[in-house]
Amino acid sequence: MNAMNRRSFLSTTGLGSIALNALLQQDASAAGKAQALAGLPHHTPKAKRVIFLYMSGGPSHLETFDWKPKLAELDGKPMPESFTKGQPIAQLQGQVLKAQGALTKFKQYGKNGQWISDFLPYHAKMADDICIVKSMLTDQINHDPAHTVMNTGTAISGRPSMGSWVNYGLGSESQDLPGFVVMTSFAGRNPQPISQRMWNNGFLPGKFQGVEFNSVGDPVYYLGNPKGVSPQQQHDLVDAVKELDQHRNKTINSPDVETRIAAYEMAFRMQTSVPDLMDISKEPKEALELYGAKPGDGSFASNCLLARRLAERGVRFIQLYHRDWDHHGDLVKYMNICCGATDRATWALMTDLKRRGLLDDTLIVWGGEFGRTPMFQGKGGAGRDHHMKGFSMWLAGGGIKPGMSFGATDELGYHSVENKVHVRDLHATVLHQLGIDHNRFTVKYQGLDMKLTGVEPSRVVKEILA
């Protein structure tokens, strides 16, 4: 809440100027807008916020960005054991492993000839905007733990997610919205579950948890007034609670009470600001068409448009999950659906951010929790199993070098072999762009200096920074 709003809010309850001043000072620590930690940022940030387009389920790198002619040659033949021996296998345990060539065609686009598959015609238009990392690695081969690694840096439950870390470190720039917003969409194969753990605050304070915004029902749980209660009545109620709490606080003199009042004020503001944010029907027709969004449809396209609105309003970490990329079978069919649902909207978001001048300080990350095997799996038509030893993601905006590819997998797309980028390196890089040195960004928990990037060595991928 800005000082002006705060004043008018307080004046309705007849608070004196001394109390008012005290309250304005309190703002820093109150539950409303969170401030940056002392000493942060560590260096000048390139990005102010992150939009993580989370392709949940694990999109195939072999049908998106990682073109492997050799794999096409081996199509249908046994997968050479030199690649698979002693490797963990998920659903293909105990089965004959056959190579599966790309199930689509690739072409080169942009100034640097980026390889992009035919499933992603709009990505082709962004070839000069994105930096494709083709040498990703993760630790986990199944969805739930791999999501947990991608979001929290470890497979052990209960650690804070990246969005929580970022908000904890940098604070929020929004007066009336949470600093970490999550939205989901689905269209495609029976989706894998996604746990709230992925946007939990772990051992960080509760106000840094990701808040899910829903396209159906209350946009935030319990946001709507109870039936039969008008906004004015709700306002009266919040005022009464505040007045009574403050009155009581003359006796108990507890600093918690001011924090609590700030939380109630923020809650009350959210009751207006969130529905206002979520209502895209007032967007110009041109904008809706650009994204292919229909108000209230809960699509990835609508979520992308909302992501832009959230970015404009100062939300620090925005995460959009599209849930249906788990293509064990009928990969072509489902790639068509998933890419159809996301490809154009992603391009629209990029275009929109660019022309509003927001791309420069917005870091976009695109990718899933892992990739898919070069081996065939056939639940229905041809598909691929989970794969953790090599996959692709891309980054754009926020000080990332545009129009390049980085790293490589081997000739069959199995192992990352060149310029490997582990998930924790990705985390280090994202934090770096936000002005945070991941090594110095720690919180004491259970006797350890916990950090997002964990205990294994990790590095900022300097090669992809502009």
């Binding site: 109870p226 009155h247 259970q446």
Partner: protein, 797 residues
């Protein structure tokens, strides 16, 4: 490279001479642990310069050579810790280390790993102390030049005791009974009454279930329901029966191995099955065996030993003397827990899923009635058969005699038939209450290997047998040690770590009743944890716990009977500044109620609360679509349509991936891992819950109904009474004024819009009292909403 350091020592020693002597465990070890042990500690793989500072002999040698020079060197390349460690020593820390060396570098073993030592309680010339706890605290307060706070007023104290011991508010009648006597003669009576209440067990279970990560769902991937709820009832029952803590420990870890293993002991072994499990499509059995083993080691060490042994999964612990071998040897105790059944496809994408082995059980309370009914049924059946037989036989005698006897038989037959029918109905009812539960059944132990760097694919590691951490000794005997041996060791104060276990537990009790532990790090008693601020007190409490025969209720009573407990939580500005975290305990703490109690309190004040103890999990109202991201199978949440709707928070269905948003908003943990201490946040999401969650709206409305049901009274009187119901005190004029204003504004609005009033009172499934004027009810509901949102109402003072 000896350097002259005596001058430096002299300066350090004299300039700080006024301060109390350095205590190694309190002042020095935490610095060494945090700043030095990572490279000069127990983990030999990462040990630098072959130097250890965690072992006395080695450390003393280093101190004689270059220790002080290195830590205070101006030369960046010389200075320790090195820059890249990102752990610089503060000037104060350097000064402490210098003083420590100057005072002779006295060393003592880590406080948590030595046997608790009894200290004679100090003599205190003051009337303030009530029991010996107070004498320890008082001496320290005086050293720090603070005075204890005055006693809380009677009403606050009664409320505190009710919330702390039962998690529920006192009723106005309870307040009336004890108000005038709690501070004099009836304190002990009240405490005994609360300890004897069945709700004591529920309150303690709220905490214990966080520690052992009890939940109603599997946690990973599909997060299906699993069968665990009888375990929750067992825990409640155990605290109510005051099951001795050593026995409680044995039953949970190894109830199946006890010679007298009955149903309750088998239910208790669900402890070993509470961890998160998965049967996601691509799960590899070996990988998950490793994950489960690690989970159990993390939990058992955190719950009983306050240790973070989980850190030693990939490498020797960096701060504590736990080795990777210790980690795997501890996990080997659980290598006989049957895991195969669900990992080999026994699990199911169903709600509930199956996690064999499971057995059907009745909880103790139900079982007693059931078994008694069964016995009575057998007796009744026997009597019936005898009566039928007797009647058939008849007697020799006059017709009149025959008729009389026949009548008597008939009556008997009728009586027994009725009895049988009633008993059969009862038995049928209890049969419906039979629930399956996951239990521990020992199988042939799996081979346990050290997994190099935690890598489950690497089978080159040494095979290990079940063993306790090596630095803590050895379980005697040649036989393979069992879970029962582990449980015995954990609670054996002579030959095991009973002293540590006792310290860990009493510290947590202290936290529950003072808001902050004697050691703040409830979950870590290792080198990185906080040494207790009152080590003698903690030790004496631990010894008392052991000597009492691990009597939990005794310890609770002892702590809450102290003068310190009774103090007011209102602090002077001076005290607050001097002791912001309340480590001197010169006041009580005031803190927000735990999530479950916030729910219970609103239900209790409204009159809706259902107080049945035990039973299957309850499903309160929850926003539609909240589970929509769950799958395998997809599921709809169906809230309870009967009185289960209003059960206590401790019974609420605990969905790990999507914990009920009300519980989550008030910091209840997801129970994926051990939680010894919940944060107490204050967020907009929590405000939205109290403002808009239908449970709280319904509570407000039913509370409103009660208010309107009171014999005709003025608005003023009603406001006063409603405020008093929720806070146990009368509002002052200003407070009454705010609520009356809200009442009148609301009344005006609802008079103008009867439809809105109708909508408002229709929230919740509890029926609306027909006789009441809907406009009035809606207006009073607004008042009650305000009252239930007050900070005071959700705070334990």
């Amino acid at each position: 490279m000896m350097k002259p350091i005596s001058l430096l020592l002299f300066v350090a020693a004299t300039s700080l001479a006024a301060e109390p002597a350095i205590d190694f465990n309190r002042d020095v070890r935490p610095i060494l642990s945090d700043k030095c042990f990572a490279c000069h500690g127990p983990d030999e793989k990462h040990r630098a310069a072959k130097l250890r500072l965690d072992v006395e002999k080695d450390a003393q040698r280093a101190i004689k050579v270059e220790f002080l020079d290195r830590i205070s060197s101006k030369d960046e390349t010389e200075r320790m810790p090195p820059k890249k460690a990102n752990k610089p020593l503060t000037a104060k820390e350097i000064a402490t280390l210098q003083r420590w060396v100057a005072e002779g570098a006295k060393w003592s073993a880590h406080w948590a790993y030595v046997t608790p030592k009894k200290t004679i309680e100090p003599h205190v010339k003051s009337a303030w102390p009530i029991n010996w706890i107070d004498r320890f605290l008082y001496v320290r307060m005086r050293q720090e030049k603070v005075e204890p706070s005055s006693d809380a007023n009677a009403v606050t104290l009664i409320r505190r005791l009710y919330f702390d011991l039962t998690g529920l508010p006192p009723s106005p009648a309870d307040i009336a009974t004890f108000k005038d006597s709690v501070l004099s003669t009836q304190f002990s009576v009240l405490v005994d009454k609360l300890l004897a209440s069945e709700h004591f067990g529920e309150r303690m279970a709220m905490y214990w279930l966080d520690l052992v990560r009890y939940a109603d769902t599997v946690g990973y991937h599909g997060d299906q329901d699993h069968h665990a709820s009888p375990y929750r009832d067992y825990v409640i029952d155990a605290f109510n029966l005051n099951l001795r803590f050593d026995r409680f420990t044995r039953e949970q870890l190894a109830g199946d191995l006890l010679p007298e293993s009955g149903v309750d002991q088998k239910i208790a072994t669900c402890y070993n099955r509470l961890l998160q499990t998965s049967h996601e499509g691509g799960v590899q059995a070996k990988e998950y065996l490793a994950i489960y083993a690690a989970d159990r080691v993390r939990n058992v060490s955190a719950v009983w030993m306050g240790a973070t042994v989980g850190c030693a999964q990939c490498h020797n612990h960096k701060f504590d003397p736990y080795t990777a071998k210790d980690f795997y040897a501890l996990s080997a105790f659980f290598a006989d827990v049957d895991e195969e059944k669900h990992l080999r496809g026994g699990g199911a994408d169903a709600i509930p899923t199956k996690r064999a082995p499971e057995i059907p059980v009745l909880i103790r309370k139900d079982r007693l009635v059931y078994e008694d009914s069964q016995r009575r049924l057998d007796r009744a059946k026997k009597s019936l058969a005898e009566a039928i037989e007797g009647r058939k036989k008849g007697i020799d005698g006059t017709n009149e005699q025959k008729r009389k006897v026949d009548m008597a038989y008939l009556e008997e037959i009728e009586l027994q038939t009725t009895t049988i029918k009633a008993l059969e109905t009862q038995i049928a009812y209890y049969k419906m209450r039979i629930r399956p539960i996951m239990v521990t059944q020992a199988v042939m132990p799996r081979t346990t290997r050290i997994l190099p760097r935690g890598n489950w694919l690497d089978e080159t590691g040494e095979v290990v047998q079940p063993a306790i951490p090596a630095f803590l000794g050895k379980i005697p005997g040649d036989k393979r040690s069992t879970r029962l041996d582990l449980a015995n060791w954990l609670t054996d104060s002579k030959n095991g770590v009973g002293g540590l276990t006792a310290r860990v537990f009493v510290n947590r009790l202290w936290y529950l009743f003072f808001g902050v532990g004697l050691s703040k790090s409830l979950e870590d008693f290792g080198g990185q944890g906080e040494p207790p601020v009152h080590p003698e007190l903690l030790d004496n409490l631990a010894i008392e716990f052991i000597e009492s025969g691990w009597d939990v209720k005794h310890m609770v009573k002892l702590i809450v009977s102290s003068r310190a407990y009774r103090q007011s939580s209102l602090a002077t500005q001076e005290l607050r500044e001097k002791d912001p975290e309340n480590r001197l305990y010169a006041r009580q703490s005031s803190f927000r109620l735990p999530a479950e109690s916030i729910r219970d309190n609103a239900l209790a004040v409204s009159g809706l609360l259902v107080l049945e103890v035990g039973g299957s999990s309850a499903k309160p109202y929850q926003p539609a679509g909240f589970y929509r991201h769950l799958n395998f199978p997809k599921r709809e949440y169906a809230s309870d349509k009967d009185v289960k709707q209003w059960r206590r928070g401790v019974y609420v269905h605990w969905q790990r991936q999507y914990l009920h948003p009300m519980l989550r908003a008030f910091d209840a943990p997801t129970r994926e891992e051990c939680t010894a201490q919940r944060p107490r946040s204050n967020t907009p999401l929590a405000a939205l819950v109290l403002l808009n969650d239908p449970t709280f709206i319904e509570c407000a409305r039913v509370f409103g109904q009660r208010i309107l049901g009171w014999a005709a009274k003025s608005d003023e009187e009603r406001v006063t009474l409603s405020f008093r119901e929720a806070t146990s005190r009368n509002p002052d004029d200003a407070e009454r004024g705010v609520l009356l204003k809200l009442l009148n504004a609301s009344r005006t609005r609802y008079k103008a819009d009867a439809k809105a009033a109708q909508d408002m009172v229709a929230i919740g499934q509890s029926p609306v009292a027909k006789a009441l004027d809907v406009v009035e009810l809606a207006a009073w509901t607004s008042v009650c909403r305000a009252v239930l949102n007050l900070n005071e109402v959700v705070t334990r003072e």
